[in-house]
């Protein structure tokens, strides 16, 4: 009898303790009520889509356009940019870009992601976990760095590129993304840039141009045959970029909502129009529409619509795609030769010029019903001036930061490979590998 009653007392006590523990444990705490499962699901997919744009999208797009002896080395730059910049972004880049809303730079509150628990939510994306916002933004940072590599293809030393990727991310990319998206002074001034016309495209384009000028032209530029190794790789890469852009622009709505859908629709129409425009221009001027022209036009349209996609109507996307196709075509086939710079893969001609064009046209076409901002056509010409301001600031900071960093790096490591390596090919010289 005494044993049985002791046993029962033990069970009752155990039950009381269990209830007490459950009541105070985190599992029983209130979940963050702002997290929306649909938004979160979409943003997870969008994050994967944007990462796919770099790997393997951009890797294939670029590698197909260089010479056979440099294909692997070109892919290595996208791979390395992803690996290195992802970690740096998580460690310090995200914090400096998005923590707090001081005008010029974020705080170190999220250094090494401290304080970012399961339930954390960023003020910039209240319906998804902060970790998701962080990694989504990471994919943008990564692709911007990878984009720059196109201008200096076929001749940049891999070690110098790694230093550049790390430093440029922190010194150039992080501040601009803070100014435009992290509550910085450009956002405060009313700048609209839905998915990265300044932060990604103009920034990468200008940095690429500066890099091309600082490094100098490829050996044999203007005299040797530098024809693409395999444009079919570039076409595959374009497909991955195009589809991925649904996550790049659609995901910039930060939720599964009609604005995301409109952004995707507008984006797609701009890509199509860009491709057709470049195709038509080549057909008229050269007699044949090239595949390289079609994919370049599509990417030009995609880059240009990026800042406008969440602010304009779908048919504006057609106009922006047409403008981008034409302006970028001219930049790649005339402007480049007028000034004589060797922007190997036309990062400035397509992304730089395209991004700036889209930024301006966003200021023209911004429609209140879509993005709560009115542009010139709705009676607010001032928006165009604000866009110009944003373009100017981005251009200056990107150019200045890039040239300073390149000069700094060159004091320790030569930026270019040596002459023999460039002739032999970067795959063998830098990586000890070759395509068979």
């Amino acid at each position: 009898m005494r044993v049985a009653s002791i046993a029962r007392a033990g069970r009752v006590t155990g039950a009381i303790v269990a209830i007490a523990v459950l009541a105070v444990s985190p599992a029983a705490a209130q979940p963050a009520t702002s997290i929306d499962r649909a938004d979160t699901a979409w943003m997870i997919v969008a994050t994967a889509l944007v990462l796919m744009m770099t790997l393997p999208g951009l890797a294939l797009f670029y590698a197909g356009m260089v010479r056979k002896k440099n294909v692997l080395a070109t892919m290595a730059q996208s791979l390395a940019a992803t690996a290195l910049c992802s970690i740096l972004w998580a460690a310090v880049g995200y914090s400096l870009a998005f923590a707090g809303d001081a005008p010029f730079l974020g705080t170190l509150d999220r250094l090494l992601l401290s304080g970012m628990g399961l339930d954390a939510v960023s003020p910039w994306a209240k319906t998804i976990p902060e970790a998701l916002f962080m990694i989504y933004q990471m994919t943008f940072a990564v692709i911007t760095v990878a984009l720059v590599s196109g201008s200096v293809a076929d001749r940049m030393r891999f070690s110098a590129f790694l230093w550049f990727a790390a430093l440029w991310l922190i010194v150039v990319y992080v501040p601009i993304s803070h100014w435009v998206w992290g509550g910085g002074f450009l956002a405060a001034a009313g700048l609209i840039d839905f998915a990265g016309g300044t932060v990604v495209h103009l920034n990468a384009g200008v940095a690429g141009l500066v890099g091309a000028l600082v490094l100098g032209a490829r050996r044999g530029y203007g005299s040797e045959n530098l024809a693409p190794y395999d444009l079919s790789l570039a076409v595959i890469g374009t497909g991955l970029l195009w589809v991925g852009w649904f996550g790049f622009n659609g995901g910039s709505a930060l939720g599964a909502n009609p604005r995301a859908v409109f952004a995707i629709l507008t984006t797609h129409l701009a890509a199509c129009t860009g491709a057709l425009t470049w195709m038509a221009l080549e057909w008229m001027r050269l007699g044949k529409p090239s595949v390289l022209g079609m994919i370049s036009g599509a990417v030009a349209g995609l880059g240009a619509i990026t800042p406008a996609s969440g602010f304009v109507l779908p048919w504006h996307g057609v106009i922006i795609g047409l403008a981008a196709g034409a302006v970028c075509y001219w930049s790649c086939t005339r402007l480049k030769f007028i000034f004589g710079y060797d922007d190997s893969l036309d990062v400035f001609g397509v992304h730089g010029v395209g991004g700036a064009t889209g930024m301006l046209l966003a200021g023209v076409f911004a429609t209140r019903a879509i993005g709560n901002v009115s542009g010139l056509l709705e009676g607010h010409p001032n928006q165009v001036l604000i866009q110009l301001y944003g373009i100017g600031v981005t251009l200056v900071w990107s150019a200045f930061g890039t040239v300073v960093l390149l000069k700094l790096i060159s004091a320790f490591v030569p930026l270019r490979v040596d002459k023999q390596s460039e002739i032999e090919g970067l795959d063998v010289a830098q990586h000890g590998e070759s395509l068979q």
Binding site: N225, L292, G349
Partner: protein, 112 residues
């Protein structure tokens, strides 16, 4: 023994192979090569950058045959490979000093 070397247009390869089989040739070595003669190359333009492509793709066939068969073989190739357009190619005949079948060790005429 003779080595017949023919440089022909790539799309003619199957036709030449069939013609050679018909005259009793049952083996050959084929390589993809580039070359030019009177056929000129063409221009390719990539986003404003123009390149002259002077070397055209060709196919090179090598056949080792007995001296008695050479005339029939050259005739078969020239008929099958001809289009009448510039760039049809050329056929060369060179002497072979010795030959061996690796698997069996047969030499000279028995190796062909």
């Amino acid at each position: 023994m003779k080595l017949v070397i023919a440089v022909i247009k790539p799309f003619k390869l199957e036709e030449v192979r069939d013609a050679l089989t018909a005259v009793g040739v049952h083996g050959m070595t084929v390589t993809e090569v580039k070359g030019y003669g009177r056929q000129k190359g063409h221009m390719e333009i990539y986003r404003g950058s123009e390149y002259a492509v002077n070397f055209l793709p060709k196919v090179r066939i090598e056949i080792a045959v007995s001296s008695e068969m050479v005339d029939r073989v050259v005739e078969a190739i020239s008929v099958a490979a001809k289009t009448g357009q510039i760039g049809d190619g050329k056929i060369f005949v060179a002497p072979i000093e010795a030959a061996m079948r690796i698997r069996t060790g047969e030499v000279d005429a028995d190796a062909l």
